[in-house]
Amino acid sequence: MKPATRRFIAFWVIVPALLGAVFASAMDPRALPFTGHEQLSAVFLLDGQAYFGHLEDVPWSGTITLRDVYYFEDASKVTTDLPLALVKRGSELHQPVDVMRIRRDKVLVVERVSLDSPVGRAIASQRALDRVAK
């Protein structure tokens, strides 16, 4: 094999293959854009509060951004099945708009929310009811 051919194979085949393997091992295929899967995230803060929504996480930013935000509220005095209720952020006295920025150093855990989970279903139901209301 000629040296030029070896260099061509190394540069255009082996290196891209290795880079692809490295990136693929660290990537969830469902997290790729335009795959049709909703990416719902749970952000747990150091103070114990949890927020759910669409996460935008840019590594070099000091904050992470959540959109379409929901959170848990104590419902132990309400006659619901569970002692927790899901509340959509926006109905507070200051009526925050859809975007919530959270300081990165206050975040304990970020997790992907399964769409079949109670939280995922409750959010999907809320969207369906929002459509009915429009």
């Binding site: 619901t80 099945d81 959509k88 006295l93 409750a122």
Partner: protein, 202 residues
């Protein structure tokens, strides 16, 4: 002295600049979140999930009603300082108010679920009859459901108002005999209605 000269064909230069612009544009779109927002799908619940949510919300409303009714009946069964006629009148009014409250809650639920105006009332009445025939306390526990915020607003308000009504009846029933008791005649009092409007939270 020989100067080193790198010759780049014009075509290659155009391609390289084009590729660089494309990469920068992509980076800008990714960093600003435009791609994420455009690509992220929003899942909407299927009819079966909505049906489950509706059933859970109906159960929650009924549970609030049954608990309040049980409290009123339990207090009525005690030896009270007021006369039996007064106690019966207070109990009857409280139970009627609770029934009206449950009906309002079920009507609000139907409205939020987008039922036709004609169907809302019929659905509420049918649900009431179903629960009257088979109370929740007699049924096996269903798997717990986390309600959508709009439905929780109704269930939460229903629970709050039912508690208020039963507490008021308890206070009236357990009042000392010397205090003027409420009138025995059932008055067309306005029953509070649970609404789907969000409540302000801190």
């Amino acid at each position: 002295m020989n100067d080193a000269v790198v010759r780049i064909p014009r075509r290659t230069l155009f391609v390289a600049v084009g590729a660089l612009v494309a990469v920068l544009l992509t980076l800008a779109l990714v960093v600003t979140g435009v791609v994420a927002r455009a690509a992220d799908a929003n899942t909407v619940a299927s009819a079966s999930v909505l049906k489950t949510q509706q059933s859970a919300a109906e159960r929650d409303i009924e549970r609030a009603y049954e608990q309040a009714v049980a409290q009123v009946r339990k207090v009525r069964a005690l030896n009270l300082a007021i006369t039996a006629a007064q106690a019966d009148a207070i109990t009857l009014k409280a139970l009627n108010d609770l029934k009206a409250l449950r009906h309002s809650g079920l009507v609000s639920l139907g409205q939020v679920l987008g039922l036709a105006t004609a169907d809302v009332e019929a659905n509420a009445t049918a649900t009431e009859q179903r629960f009257d025939q088979a109370p929740l306390s007699a049924e096996p526990a269903a798997s717990p459901v986390l309600l959508a915020p709009r439905l929780y607003a109704i269930a939460g308000r229903m629970s709050e108002l039912a508690t208020q009504l039963s507490d008021q009846a308890t206070t009236d029933l357990t009042a000392p005999a010397a205090t003027p008791a409420p009138t025995a005649a059932p008055s067309p009092s306005r029953t509070p209605t649970p609404s789907a409007s969000p409540t302000a939270r801190p």
